[in-house]
């Protein structure tokens, strides 16, 4: 099941999705992809990449995303033959707070909770930000819904869209002849931008918006300069975004995390070099402290089990040329030191997951 799970990120949000082979689509919540024509997806069997949002259904909080062209995601079992019943054990899968796959257990509390003219399954498994769009699964491993929202300030009251509604939307979407589609909030009919590029539903006249009509995210101010620097260093900046003020840049065996702190005007660049050795750490600590005396403009530190090499830039005078020079230096030094730390001090490589 986890092989079909997909981590989804936009500059504004993170969430979960899962692949349904029968549809050849990734299914998630509309609020996860909201306002984005394309999103970043990452799964077990494919690299992080951009993917196009092909359908949105705001009323059901449902969205379909085009899957990667190359992947090994297996089929997933959908429970279509019987309805779930209250008291039934369930599990949820997702990427809460952008973490690796997490599972929570619970029980179905109700199967007919009405919200926004839709009927949702209510359950008590713990859901956190990032879980949205993940599958709700029965005790036989079959998907019975998509986790959509929770009641704020309530103890584990969560709601999932029943899988039959996903099937229903997919069948309506199948009429599409390419392009993107949207399901009208008013009449619930599906419209296609290839055929009906109007801003109004041809069936009922309500205002509608296709995913293709969303603007592409474009940062302003310091984040804009940072993204220009990242692009000039040869990266697809969209794949490095972790929100509006953070970027993760893989570099060899190291991962460089850039963060912009608007309140202090500081830009941190943290290169995660390696994990600390399992045993005696004094030798590596002494080495790092001595290197801190020699190295220029960079600093070695330890956070949890990781060794970091960091730089700090003050935003007032950040320009592209200076930024590129400083980041290239960080990259070069990170490449050099992670080898030294692993080969001479017994540190361990960080798995790039």
């Amino acid at each position: 099941m986890t092989d079909c799970l997909i981590e989804i990120a936009t500059p504004f949000n993170t969430g979960t999705g899962f692949y349904i082979k029968k549809f050849n689509l990734i299914v998630t919540n509309e609020h996860v992809v909201h306002d984005n024509k394309e999103v970043v997806i990452k799964g077990k069997s494919f690299e992080k990449q951009m993917a196009v949002v092909v359908l949105i259904d705001e009323c059901a909080d449902l969205a379909f995303i085009k899957p990667p062209t190359k992947h090994d995601m297996p089929d997933i079992n959908l429970r279509l033959e019987t309805e779930p019943v209250p008291g039934e054990d369930i599990i949820t899968l997702g990427h809460p707070y952008g973490l690796n796959i997490s599972m929570t257990k619970g029980v179905i509390s109700s199967i007919d909770q009405k919200e926004r003219d839709m009927v949702f399954i209510q359950h008590d498994a713990a859901l956190n930000p990032g879980n949205s769009g993940g599958p709700l699964i029965d005790s036989h491993g079959k998907v019975i819904g998509i986790n959509s929202f929770v009641l704020l300030k309530a103890e584990n009251i969560a709601f999932a869209l029943p899988i039959r509604d996903v099937i229903d939307t997919f069948e309506a979407y199948q009429q599409s002849k390419g392009g993107t589609a949207t399901r009208c909030r008013s009449c619930r009919k599906v419209s296609y931008d290839a055929e009906e590029p109007s801003r109004y539903c041809v069936h009922c006249g309500s205002e509608i918006l296709f995913p293709s009509g969303y603007h592409t995210y474009s940062p302003v101010g310091v984040p804009r300069i940072i993204e220009q620097i990242i692009a000039n260093l040869g990266y697809d900046v969209r794949l490095t975004r972790e929100g509006k003020n953070q970027w993760n840049i893989p570099r060899g065996s190291a991962l460089v995390r850039l963060s912009y702190h608007k309140d202090t005007g500081l830009i941190d660049g943290d290169a995660y070099l390696c994990r600390l050795p399992e045993g005696e750490a004094k030798a590596i600590y002494t080495f790092l402290m001595r290197e801190n005396f020699k190295i220029k403009e960079l600093v070695f530190s330890v956070k949890g089990r990781f060794v970091l090499l960091s730089l700090m830039i003050f935003d007032r005078h950040l320009d592209e040329d200076t930024g590129i020079l400083m980041l290239e230096r960080l990259f070069d030094q990170a490449d050099h030191y992670d080898d030294v730390l692993v080969e001479e001090y017994g540190a361990a490589w960080i798995e790039q997951d």
Binding site: A281, Y285, T286, M289, R290, V299, S301, V302, F314
Partner: protein, 445 residues
């Protein structure tokens, strides 16, 4: 003429000397001249005149006595030193780079836990870092390409580095006996008389507190807040009047932070930790304590600046407590609460000189023997223990007049003061401050 220049050019300005010798250093209230230097540093930096920008920035950092910063210029480079408490920070501008270092301690062996703590600290620091040289000396280091070192970055960077340098050596030396302090040749010892006076007051304050906890009003009360106020206000008073360095200062600082740390600990546990701090202070070697009253010079202050309005917002709900205790005839509790309010403000905030002077009147009355022994002339207590009302009013008016040029729209209702006894005076002093209005003209925080 800057504020402090006027202070030290004026004869018999007792309040000003008190201001200078008591309490924590603050760099938050500088003169117009200082701000002119900072503006000039910014202007020159924008025009890419980096060396001159740094020179003006260093002029901005100078205190009013001008003894905390020294600069040596030559054609190739610029060298400078800053004093920050027990540490000297040495810096240079050479080949387009600013580099500042301060050796803290040296030791033959660094334990794995100390190295780990320093490396973790490096992650939390924004501008500077801890580093070890080949001679096993621990340093703090701040560096920047001068093109990236605008005056704001320099200020925050040097401040972070200086405060870390000043604190970390004391912490390491207090935990690890084998380490030696480095870079302390600039500290100056107090006179033997002052050392004796300060040591006596230190033990006296702790003894009074211990007696009250053992058999005085604090042993009989069920009011746990008043026990906290009594202990903390004693710590704050020691910090303000005696300005301890080293371990004494660290124990007080840690006790304060441990009490206010966001934790789920019960008030009983917090009180027991405060009592442990009292025991630690009592157990300090008296000869070591005497060595901790040394004189130091600062460049950066540790406390955040606040204005009168922010202090008033803190005082208002607290003086209601004092009023309640007075109505209940709980005069010890009322006096303790006043003492706590004054101590808390002076310990935690960088208040402007006028406000500090007004708050100082509370300590000058409740610790009049100490001030008398320290040869300050203003004695506001008659031999029968009554307050000298006329002298107090006269001194307050003089103080307000003295600062008038540096403030806008000063309105301080002296008529709210009560002179019946010490705690009535303290309570009414806080009421007066809560009803006052004034704005410091040069404040730019």
């Amino acid at each position: 003429m800057g504020l402090w220049n006027r202070i030290f050019n004026r004869d018999n300005a007792e309040i000003e000397v008190c201001l200078h010798t008591c309490g924590r250093y603050s760099d938050a209230h500088k003169s117009a001249d200082h701000y002119t230097h900072f503006d000039e540093a910014n202007r020159l930096f924008e025009k890419n005149h980096y060396r001159d920008a740094v020179i003006h920035f260093l002029a901005y950092l100078k205190n009013d006595e001008g003894d905390n910063v020294t600069v040596q210029e030559n054609q190739k480079n610029l060298e400078f030193q800053l004093l920050q408490g027990s540490k000297v920070i040495s810096g240079s501008l050479e080949d387009g780079r600013i580099l500042m270092r301060s050796p803290l301690v040296s030791g033959s062996e660094y334990s794995v836990n100390l190295l780990r703590r320093l490396l973790e600290k490096n992650y939390d620091l924004n501008y500077c870092r801890f580093a070890l040289d080949e001679q096993n000396q621990l340093h703090t280091i701040f560096e920047s390409y001068v093109k990236d070192a605008n005056p704001y970055k320099l200020y925050y960077g040097l401040k972070e580095m200086s405060l870390q340098a000043d604190k970390m050596d004391d912490l390491i030396l207090s935990e690890f006996d084998s380490f030696k302090a480095r870079n302390i040749e600039h500290t100056r010892d107090e006179s033997i008389e002052i050392v004796e006076l300060k040591t006596n007051l230190f033990y006296r304050k702790l003894q009074v507190l211990q007696d009250n906890l053992d058999s005085g009003y604090l042993s009989r009360t069920h009011d746990r807040n008043i026990v906290v106020y009594a202990i903390l206000s004693t710590f704050y008073k020691i910090d303000f009047l005696l300005v301890p360095q080293g371990q004494t200062g660290n124990i007080i600082e840690r006790a304060h932070h441990a009490f206010y740390a966001d934790s789920t600990e019960s008030i009983e546990i917090k009180i027991s930790k405060l009592k442990e701090a009292i025991t630690k202070l009592q157990a300090l070697d008296p000869e070591m304590i005497k060595r901790e009253w040394y004189k130091v010079i600062y460049t950066f202050g540790i406390n955040p600046p606040v204005d009168l309005q922010q202090v008033q917002q803190y005082i208002q709900p607290e003086i209601n407590k004092v009023q309640w205790y007075i109505r209940q005839n709980k005069f010890d509790e009322a006096a303790t609460t006043v003492d706590f309010i004054v101590g808390y403000i002076l310990f935690n905030y960088a208040v402007d000189p006028l406000l500090k002077s007004l708050l100082l009147f509370h300590y000058r009355i409740t610790n009049h023997t100490f001030f008398k022994e320290m040869k300050f002339e203003g004695d506001f207590i008659k031999s029968n223990g009554e307050l000298k009302k006329n002298k107090l009013i006269s001194e307050l008016k003089q103080t307000i007049d003295f600062f008038e040029d540096d403030y806008h729209a000063v309105k301080i209702p002296i008529d709210l003061l009560q002179f019946d006894n010490e705690y009535h005076f303290g309570y009414s002093l806080l009421n007066m401050i809560a009803s006052s209005y004034f704005i410091e003209m040069q404040a730019r925080n």
